[in-house]
């Protein structure tokens, strides 16, 4: 009843953000995968704020519409504005056209350092079997997949083109949901999921097992490390078990670049630099993360798994750190392999190279 009355109130006041104390801009549609993470987080966050937070959805161009507007207008014009971004916007910064935003221009409120899990059919052998697979959301993890079933080869990125031409049937235009469905019907050999979706998927999939996790970004080393929720299943460890040596070479650097920008920035909240309200929202976030009830709620969002947050200055450090991975060679190789294997419209932008 209370919620219904709230809806009536919202309708009466036309739901404009003008009445809200904080407005969070999201470059996604309501109900999207990102939204399924964001809504429970905001629900918990509100408990520790005296002010309200209203979501303003601004979908379009895979988040670029909103983030470009945030970069050029919103962060200056809206003193109560926050922005959220996901992994696609993180990795798009590296190689997609018409990206005007730059995460270093804002202060991080909090970044939840996440992972991507990849599963496979139990009977499928990555070393000997061919692979049928497609998922337009997962460029990074598909690069990891390619490496894990091709091996180190001669270390040159061009060699992976030959390997994928021979062994990979990359099905184009597959979105995450249909790709998992195709796996369940036996049309694909592997599947993938972010922490929010993984447990749900595993509960539905009968013939499937975790193959590898990309790893959680470790701030102390500046690299993706073991995921404590799936110990021993880190990409590097699985690679070594499969091929008897550590992963290395141009493909590995390219993979780590694309993957880290996707996973480390998979769930991020931003505020304009110097905004006096930063202290309020950061304080609320810290309280939320210290509260056992909220912790339990957030754990539930990620299917029972726990992922660490880099808060405020810690988050800013993460952005600076991961940008160092964008060396000239790694960026060139990333763009090359995406064009050569995925046939995607990506660009090499020298401005993205670490200074």
């Amino acid at each position: 009843m209370k919620k219904m009355l709230t809806l009536v109130a919202v309708m009466l006041f036309t739901a404009t953000s003008a009445f809200a104390d904080f407005t969070i801009y999201a470059g996604t549609k309501p109900g999207s995968g990102f939204d399924q993470w964001m809504q429970p987080v905001l629900k918990e966050l509100r408990k520790f704020l005296d002010e309200d937070i209203t979501v303003k959805y601004m979908p379009g161009a895979r988040g670029r519409t909103m983030l470009n507007k945030w970069e050029n207008e919103l962060r200056f014009e809206d003193p109560n504005g926050l922005a959220v971004s996901g992994g696609t916007q993180g990795s798009n910064w590296l190689y997609i056209n018409k990206v005007e935003y730059d995460f270093e221009n804002y202060d991080a409120v909090g970044i939840q350092l996440m992972d991507i899990m990849v599963g496979k059919r139990k009977s499928w052998n990555p070393k000997t079997d061919n692979l049928t697979w497609g998922n337009e959301s997962g460029l990074g993890d598909t690069m990891g997949t390619i490496m894990l079933f091709c091996g180190n080869l001669d270390g040159k990125i061009e060699s992976y083109k030959k390997c994928t031409d021979e062994r990979l049937n990359l099905v184009k235009g597959m979105k995450d949901g249909p790709a998992t469905m195709a796996y369940m019907r036996g049309e694909m050999d592997i599947f993938r999921g972010n922490p929010t979706a993984w447990a749900k998927k595993m509960s539905k999939i009968k013939d499937g097992e975790l193959w590898f996790t990309q790893g959680v970004y470790d701030r102390s080393t500046g690299k993706a490390g073991d995921n404590p929720n799936h110990p021993g299943m880190h990409f590097d460890a699985v690679f070594e078990r499969t091929w008897g040596e550590a992963p290395k070479g141009e493909m590995y650097d390219a993979y780590r670049l694309a993957q880290t920008f996707n996973d480390a920035l998979q769930k991020s909240i931003w505020i304009q630099k110097g905004n006096p309200k930063k202290a309020i929202i950061v304080d609320a976030l810290r309280k939320m993360l210290a509260d056992p009830e909220s912790q339990a709620a957030l754990k539930k969002v990620n299917g029972g798994a726990e992922y660490d947050w880099a808060i405020a200055e810690e988050g800013d450090k993460v952005v600076k750190q991961i940008k160092k991975l964008a060396t000239e060679q790694a960026l060139k190789d990333t763009v090359w392999i995406i064009k050569a294997v995925f046939d995607y419209d990506v660009v090499y932008n020298p401005d993205r190279i670490s200074k």
Partner: protein, 478 residues
Amino acid sequence: MEYVLWCLAGTVYGIILGVVPLAGAGTAMLLLFSFVGFFAEMPYAGLVFLISVIASSSTADSYTSLLTGIPGSNTTAASIIDGHKIAKNGEAARAIGIAMADSTFNAIVFGILAFALLPFYAPIVYKFGLPELFMLMTLSIAVVAFIVTKNIWCSLFAIGAGSFLGLIGLDPHHAEPRFTFGTLYLEDGIPIMMMVGGLFGFPELMYGFRKDAVRPAPIKNYFTQLIQGWKDAVRLWKDSLRGGFIGFVAGMLPGVGPVGDMLAYGATVKAHPKEKFGVGNPKGLAGCEGANNAQKAGSLIPTVLFGIPASPFAAIFMAMCLGFGLDVGTPYMLEDKKFLWLLGSSFIGATIFTFIICTFTSKLLVKILEIPYWLYATLIMAIIVYTCQTYTGLYMDYLTLGGCTLLGCFCKHYGVSRPAILLTYIIIDKWENLGGQMMQVYDLPDLATRPLFLFLLALISFLVYKAITQKDRGIDYW
């Protein structure tokens, strides 16, 4: 208890919007688009609310058709032919009684038929691989093209326009912008709310301005006539059930659902060749009124099973459910018992609530029809604009809505099927995608071993052959 309240709230809202001339379920839901985010935390409450709006508006839209001769929505036009004559003959409440009983009966019968069987469809859905899904999409396009309108050129224009609009965005195979004219906004395609608002909402409401003001037929001896109407409906149960069945089947076929009531009316006339229709024959009303409700239940089946919305209202329903985080169109939802239970029970529950509410408030509801048309039409238009601009708040929201409205007005004026445009717009990129994926995963010899694929191929071939060779292709709806 919470869901019962949401059901009641949706019913009341649906009844009010249903009574508003030319609005109907689609417009009622479109106006709620900006509140999708509100239900993100309680998706099942959103589902109950939406289904209740659909069920109740499908019954309440009869008031307008019967009492004023203006369609309450685009799926109740057939009710006017005999129903409005009955009302003009001084038996308005009798017409309401027939319509209410007929709608309630068919909604319950075909609602149960549709929703109770949904869980059993789940294993079948898994049989639909990429080739079968591709053929199902092809079948949908073929049905839209060849059945809905008599004029094949109008159909082809509709398919062309829908295809062009549906293909705007990022080419899924190469992630390259396509028909976006260099704007980032269009890279995600044209939002469905602009399409529905522009193609249907605005043209219908603007069309209403051109109609002369009509005072609703007066209601006399309300309860006596109402009970007489109920008795008529019981007596004419065969006509009622036939109409419901036709509406139900039409509802499952993409593009055909909106004309289900006309098909049902035509079948009633054929079933009684010696009787005169169009003069206030209760059989004419009983034979078509419930088709509208059964069509709603039928249209939700392909929507829930395969994500193929068979009618414009189902397209909005699906988009809003996705907004709540409910993956309608995937087998996940068929395994979600709560989803299935609420889907069916809220449809039936809202139908019963509507019957009870309308029985006791008909005289009050008719007052809505006395409000000057320009007043609520302007209000609804303003809400549609507001709803659409909540998408991004950028000027492109207005431009896109304006473009879709121009197209909608053009189609209404020249008799081009707007449901065909909308459904093609929704289906075409999935069709393109599935076609490419099927060719990547399967070879021709593989396809030749799949019985379901071959059956669908034969069905499509037959449909195309009949469409080309048969002169009487279908009926017009635009």
